[in-house]
Amino acid sequence: MTTSRAGADLPDLYRAMRRIRMIEEAVAVRYAEQEMRCPVHLSIGQEAVAVGVCAGMRPDDQLVSTHRCHAHYLAKNGDLKAMLAEIYGKAAGCCGGRGGSMHLTDSTAGVLLSLPIVASSIPIAVGAALAIRQEGRDAVAATFMGDGSIEEGVFHESMNFAALMRLPVLFILENNLYSCYTGLKDRQPRRPFVDLARGYGMPAEAADGNDVEAVREAARRAIARARAGDGPTLLVFDTYRWREHCGPNYDNDIGYRTEAEFLDWKERCPVEQAHRRLVAAGRHDEAAEAAMTAAIQAEINEAFAFAKTAPFPSPETARSHVYG
């Protein structure tokens, strides 16, 4: 079975987004149980970028993500049980409980690493692309970056190097407007993000980050360029983080952004947009929705049950694997 959704139609993309939304909401609800004892940076509201980009990626294409990695990992077919077990700190977690929610990884799915320090993941993806080049393969690497990460020097260093070497890598700028509680306008001058790529002689493309098909098409073009040996692309997708920077709650009341702004973005919910499009095209209905969400819910329930009952790692193993 192929894990790529390269030929995926809107129903597949919609299902993938709905599944991520339901998983993240389940994490949010169960977080209060105080059993998921690690920071969680939820992807709710940003599903279209993850699903649209990963639709064109193969399992041997390498993805490197950030602290907000749940949607990327799931969209790339990272194992759900291993993700939840990791958040619960269990031995069956994708890092055996050593990383937590910000370090999701799944080699089978091509989720190389997720790294919590802002922008730290960017050169790792460029390095994966260099390895792919050295091995003479036609795979690609992709790095998801928040809007804050382009303020770090290593973003520039990585763009410069990737462009210089024409490496098969996608720089995916997922602009959710906030770095923790500080808005973009307080951190960066106003200019089109795509102009950043010009400084490196690199192609760039922007698309609606809440429109999964638009994301998929932009990513597909960038992936094709990378596979053909035509080098890296900067992809820019505006989207919105619905919940607090870290944690399960809404935080429109604490003063750094407005309820009105949130409601405006909520109107443009990537999952509901895709749903409306499918219904309008006569390709989806209430019965199909009910059957789909029931199946997803069953999968989620089973995965949570697995994660909650899975054994913790034994304390003495904390010292193992410092060296390979």
Binding site: R98, L130, A131, V154, Y323, G324
Partner: protein, 360 residues
């Protein structure tokens, strides 16, 4: 018996890289200046010509970025060797080294490894100044997941570098620039020196002298003079800082009862602090006198040679410290010490070798 091949450390490092690259096509070299005419003090000379630009890659001035690139490639199974002409530039890459290189094997439960080697060179002399001559090995040695080595002899430098390039873990190799001039017998072809801990380089029973990198050469000079005064020093090369394996030092102190540590870097919070603390913990009862540490004083390295007069430990200050530790009569050491002092005075304090003409 084959004729002894005498190389200096710089030549030995070059040969190690060549041998390893020939043996393993996954190895590639990255750094600022690795293929330029100076070739990192000759340590990468000829490699670009032999292996091509795809395997000896000149880098943009982007230490953190290309270190991340190297880590990403290493996780994917490649074997990068990074070279920094000065440790001070490597400071820009600490985020990648500490957060990603050192932790990926651990975080992934051994699923991923980071077979990366980073060579960093400590400068000294000819006015290098405060940001071109820092000996910062404790920074790296304190991080679990990194291996940290400081080769001093040519044979060891070659063997350690080949071992590092064959190791599945990130290895930081800190080379003192003046060590590059040290010559010695170097076997031809491929061999490894294990990255496992300190080793005795001179046997003695009166005092244990442990030193890092260039200070080992000063310590060996001191030991020769001490011998003339009847003091036999057990000299240990702190060749591997991490993994920290203090057993040879502890065993030595159990025999000698005295410990003198010579740091190439700062005395306070230096490698000597960890070694002395460990010896006190494990062999307190064997100590007949408090351990002594020598190292750099509590200020940055000034540029002018006039300001460096008392900055670095020397064979003479090591002799004085060892004499005080062993409690011998000053008169007994005076003549051989004076002879050494006269010998050392022939070379200026800011020049490593008679052939050295600057600029760095």
């Amino acid at each position: 018996m084959a004729e002894a091949r005498i190389l200096n450390v710089a030549e030995a490092l070059r040969e190690a890289t060549d041998v390893a690259m020939e043996h393993d096509p996954r190895i590639f070299v990255m750094g600022e200046g690795v293929s330029d005419p100076k070739a990192i003090f000759g340590t990468t000379a000829g490699l670009a010509e032999r292996y091509g630009a795809a395997r000896v890659m000149e880098m943009p001035i982007a230490e953190n970025g290309f270190t991340g690139v190297a880590i990403g490639a290493a996780i994917m199974g490649r074997r990068p060797l990074i070279v920094h002409q000065r440790v001070d530039f490597a400071l820009l890459s600490l985020e990648q080294l500490f957060n990603n290189a050192a932790k990926t094997c651990y975080v992934t439960g051994g699923h991923h490894t980071v077979p990366l080697v980073v060579r960093m060179i400590v400068g000294r002399g000819w006015g290098q100044g405060p940001a071109h001559s820092q000996s910062l090995e404790p920074l790296f040695a304190m991080i679990p997941g990194l291996k940290v080595v400081m080769p001093t002899t040519a044979r060891e430098a070659k063997g350690q570098l080949i071992a590092a390039l064959e190791d599945p873990n990130p290895v930081i190799m800190i080379e003192h620039r003046w060590v590059h001039y040290a010559t010695g017998h170097v076997p031809a072809g491929r061999y490894t020196v294990p990255l496992d801990g300190p080793r005795r380089v001179r046997e003695g029973g009166d005092v244990t002298i442990v030193a890092t990198s260039y200070m080992l050469l000063e310590a060996l000079r001191a030991a020769e003079t001490l011998e003339k005064a009847g003091i036999s020093a057990d000299v240990i090369d702190m060749a591997v800082l991490r993994p920290f394996a203090p057993e040879p030092i502890v065993d030595s102190v159990r025999r000698t009862g005295r410990l003198l540590f010579i740091d190439t870097g700062f005395r306070q919070f230096g490698i000597g602090a960890e070694v002395v603390a460990t010896v006190v913990e494990q062999a307190f009862g064997s100590l007949v006198t408090p351990p002594v540490r020598l190292g750099l004083p509590e200020h940055p390295t000034p540029s002018s040679r006039a300001l460096l007069t008392d900055f670095y430990p020397t064979a003479l200050s090591i002799i004085d410290a060892a004499a005080a530790l062993t409690g011998i009569e000053p008169a007994r050491i005076a003549a051989p010490r004076a002879a050494l002092a006269a010998e050392l005075a022939k070379l200026p304090v800011d020049v490593p070798h008679p052939t050295f003409r600057g600029p760095f």
